[in-house]
Structure formats: C-alpha cells, structure tokens
C-alpha cells in the first residue's frame, strides 16, 4: 500500500498544498505518509484515490496505478471545491465502469 500512496502523492497533478487542503490535513502529515513514517488512514486513501481517478476496485485487483492525463488548464488555480467535485465525478466514473461490466456479464 505504501508504494501506491507514494505513487499517488508523487505523480498527482496537484500540488502538495492543494492535496493537504483536500484531505484536510497538514502538509507535514502528507510528507510523513509519503515517507512511510506514518500510516495513512483508509478514508484518506480512498479520497485520494478518487481524486486521481484510481478506483478501489483497481487497488483490490492489484492493478498498477495509471494516473489519468488530467488536462485542467491552470491546475494551480483549481479550488478545493473543484477538487472535491472532481473526486466525486471520478467516483461516479468508477461506479459507471463497474455497472457497465456487470451489465455485460449479465446480458
């Protein structure tokens, strides 16, 4: 899990400051999660996964992380409100992928 957390935090297109605000924690806590000095709580991990479009289903299946090519022109100006919206939409996209898979399997 540490590898994935490091990858999520290192390759995320968002600044550490923005991620700290989004996860409602200090930047120093992010650094500790990244280095493995502190364990990341499950709910924060889930929230971070949604932000970068990596589903928990992917994680459960051991799929490698591939952060989507997020094209948000001026990512530095995305507000915390928009990061929350983005995470919720990514969660819906993951739900939709699961629904499509179930639909195909149960035709």
């Amino acid at each position: 899990m540490l590898d994935i957390i490091q990858e999520l935090l290192t390759h995320s297109p968002f600044s550490q400051e923005a991620i700290a605000l989004f996860l409602e924690c200090d930047q120093s806590t992010i650094s500790k999660w990244k280095s493995g000095d502190r364990k990341m709580p499950a709910e924060k991990f889930e929230k971070l996964c949604h932000l970068v479009g990596y589903s928990l289903e992917d994680y459960a299946q051991g799929k490698p992380l591939s952060i989507k090519n997020v094209a948000h022109f001026r990512s530095d100006s995305l507000s915390n409100e928009d990061l929350n919206a983005l995470a919720e939409l990514n969660k819906m996209a993951a739900n939709l992928a699961m629904l499509e898979r179930l639909s195909n399997e149960n035709k």
Partner: protein, 244 residues
C-alpha cells in the same frame, strides 16, 4: 488520396446529425441523453472558476458535468463545449475553466468554437435573422434570438460578430443592463442570472443502468441506493408522493 481535416463547423454538423438534431433548429438539451444512450450528464455546482468537466471512455461515451450555479445560457454553452471534448478531445479527463485562460489553450478554443456552431449553425442562424427579425439589429432582435437559441448575450453577440452581422465596435452597448432590459420586455431572467439554488443531479446512462441492474436482481437494494446517492439522486432513493 489526400483528405483535408474537417473544420470545426463540419464537426458541429456531424454531432448534430449523430444526435439526430435538425441541421438548423435550436438545440433542445432536455432529451440529449436519450439521443446518446452512452452519455451521463451531471449537474452540480463548482466554483465560479470552473464551467464544466468531461470524463470519457471512448468517443461519444462518458460523463459530462456542468456547473449548475451558472446562468442557463452559460450552462447550455458549457454542455455544447463539453460535447466537443466528449467526441473529439483525446484526453480522457478534462476540467474546463470559466475564465480567460481557456482562450490560451488550443483545445479549449476549438471547444468554444464548436459550441458556437453547434448551438447556432450558420445557415439556420442567417435564416432566422432574416426571416424572423427582418435583418434589423435592435435590442428586440437580440432578445428574440438569444431566447430562441437559449444562449447568453455574450455568445449571441460573438456569433453576430463572427458572421459580420454586428460590428464589434457596437458590441459593448448590448452588454449593459441585460437582465433589466430582458425583464422589461417580458422575457424570463434565468438565461442570464445564476439560480438562487444550484441543484445537483444526474441523468442518463448511469441512472438507467443502476435501476436496470437492480430490477434484474444483479445488484442489491442497498447497492442501488448507495450508487444513486453517489449520483445525487436522493429523490429516487427517498421518493416524495407525486401530486395528481
């Protein structure tokens, strides 16, 4: 044989045809999801810096989200703008800003141009301008046209300037007291004004699939409710009695 790249106007016509819209009429977005069964539309508030987002799996298939705290005219433009991304942008995830930075990016510029052609196709626009408005550009003409096409004042004036039906020098005079003038002339204000309450909801493929899989016993009631609440559909999970 060398083939030329289609221009943005052709792409807008192509999507109109794909979605079975008439070549010239105004777009009615209310049934967009039935015209494209692979589309899910999310309406929810974002910050005032973001107008919309698009997550696509393949061309024409995915989720479009629009900022429901913006005026209706702006929301229509965003929906048309995001359709460009859904069909033609290669990036699977796009967040679209609502500011000047959008004009710095090629793909955003193309999406804006697409939206203008998609909402107001040249031929139909000319025809309406000549036939319905007598070719005279007054505030009454402008109000009539923007309500016919359901677009913002800024979008309509850009189109008029693009077709050289309005000299850009005179554009500014039509950008003042928009809401007051429209109200006095008897038009609703929602095309220009942000709603008092920005709703969050989802319609299209996502909701249909959840209910289809539940009705076939593939997912449980608990899972159905969870998925619908993720999509802001508490109105389905906790239905209110319908009036007669």
């Amino acid at each position: 044989m060398k083939t030329s790249k289609p221009n943005i106007s052709d792409l807008a016509d192509k999507v109109r045809r794909l979605l079975n819209y008439d070549a010239n009429d105004p777009i009615d977005f209310s049934d967009l999801c039935s015209r494209n069964p692979n589309l899910t539309i999310v309406e929810r508030p974002f910050s005032d810096k973001t107008s919309g987002m698009c997550i696509k799996n393949e061309p024409g298939s995915g989720i479009i989200a629009i900022n429901s705290s913006m005026p209706l005219g702006r929301q229509h433009f965003t929906l048309a703008h995001e359709l460009y991304h859904l069909y033609f942008t290669e990036t699977p995830f796009i967040v679209c800003p609502d500011d000047e930075s959008s004009s710095q990016n090629d793909e955003e510029k193309k999406a804006n141009e697409f939206a203008m052609f998609f909402l107001m196709p040249n031929y139909g626009f000319y025809g309406y301008f000549e036939d319905m408005c007598g070719g005279a550009l007054t505030i009454d003409t402008i109000l009539k046209m923007e309500h016919y096409y359901q677009v913002s004042r800024r979008a309509l004036l850009s189109k008029l300037c693009f077709l050289k039906l309005l000299d850009p020098v005179y554009k500014e005079q039509f950008l003042v007291n928009i809401v007051r003038t429209a109200s006095e002339k008897g038009y609703p204000k929602n095309l220009y004004q942000s709603p008092c309450f920005a709703q969050s909801t989802t319609y299209g493929k996502y909701v249909a699939l959840v209910n289809d899989l539940f009705s076939r016993g593939v997912i449980s009631k608990q899972k159905r409710d969870e998925l619908l609440l993720d999509a802001y559909r508490d109105d389905i999970v906790f239905p209110q009695p319908e009036g007669k």
